[in-house]
């Protein structure tokens, strides 16, 4: 996104990152799943986070630019850390390794298709809001 690492921007990303990380962990504490079943906590954070990022970034970039600090805090920091790709990948591999290949591969495919679709939906919804007069 941005090219130069400025201390203020990095600090906002770090604070947003801490909040996003703890929030994702807490979702995992609230939604309990048994071993060898569909990993709902990761699915919920990834899909909701992708929807929220589509909504937020479209507002920030197309309606209220440049919104640099808000983008650093919310988009790169909070939502970037709230969602995760490494857990998705490892959960997929673990399910396949433990003899649940259809569930693992299905989980990966459903996460990516639903996540991308919900992000696109967020972008479309944000564009329904009229541009501010200026």
């Amino acid at each position: 996104m941005a090219r130069r690492a400025e201390p203020g921007v990095l600090a906002l990303i770090a604070i947003g990152g801490a909040l996003g990380t703890v929030s994702r962990y807490e979702v995992g504490q609230v939604i309990h799943v048994a071993k060898d079943t569909f990993p709902w906590p990761t699915f919920v954070v990834n899909v909701s986070g992708a929807f929220a990022l589509g909504l937020f970034l479209t507002f920030a970039i197309e309606r209220f630019p440049p919104a640099r600090d808000a983008r650093a805090f919310v988009a790169i920091g909070f939502l970037g850390s709230f969602t995760t790709f490494s857990t998705l990948a490892v959960e997929t591999v673990t399910l396949v390794k433990d003899g649940h290949a259809p569930l693992g591969i299905g989980y990966l495919l459903i996460s990516v298709t639903v996540g991308v679709a919900c992000c696109a939906l967020g972008i479309r919804l944000a564009r329904l809001v009229p541009r501010r007069a200026c």
């Binding site: 990380t21 986070g49 850390s81 969602t83 990948a89 991308v116 972008i123």
Partner: protein, 121 residues
Amino acid sequence: MLILGLVVAGVIGAPTRYLVDSYVIARTQSRLPFGTFVVNVSGSFILGGLTGLVLYHAFPATPKTILGTGFCGAYTTFSTFAYESVRLAEDHSPAAAVRVVLASLIVPAAAAAAGLALASF
């Protein structure tokens, strides 16, 4: 204690993602979102390795949660991957976006499997 560790992991992981992403974008000069791809592949490899250390070498649970759920979780991102894929399809090329999505279905999972396999030795 665990929450404090997760806070520190998030404070380090998110800016690391931003710096790696910016570095790769500056190096590749491409419309394709290589920065997020590199982050997600490398983070998946590390988390695969950590998971293997827990499974095969009795690596303790709390450090694993802080490094894995905390650092790797914050370092990698799903939302940015989804957003960049949609925007690539809108602004540049739906075919390129499909290739990015396909690569992201295969390569991070393969990297996680490689990390896991490496840690089994």
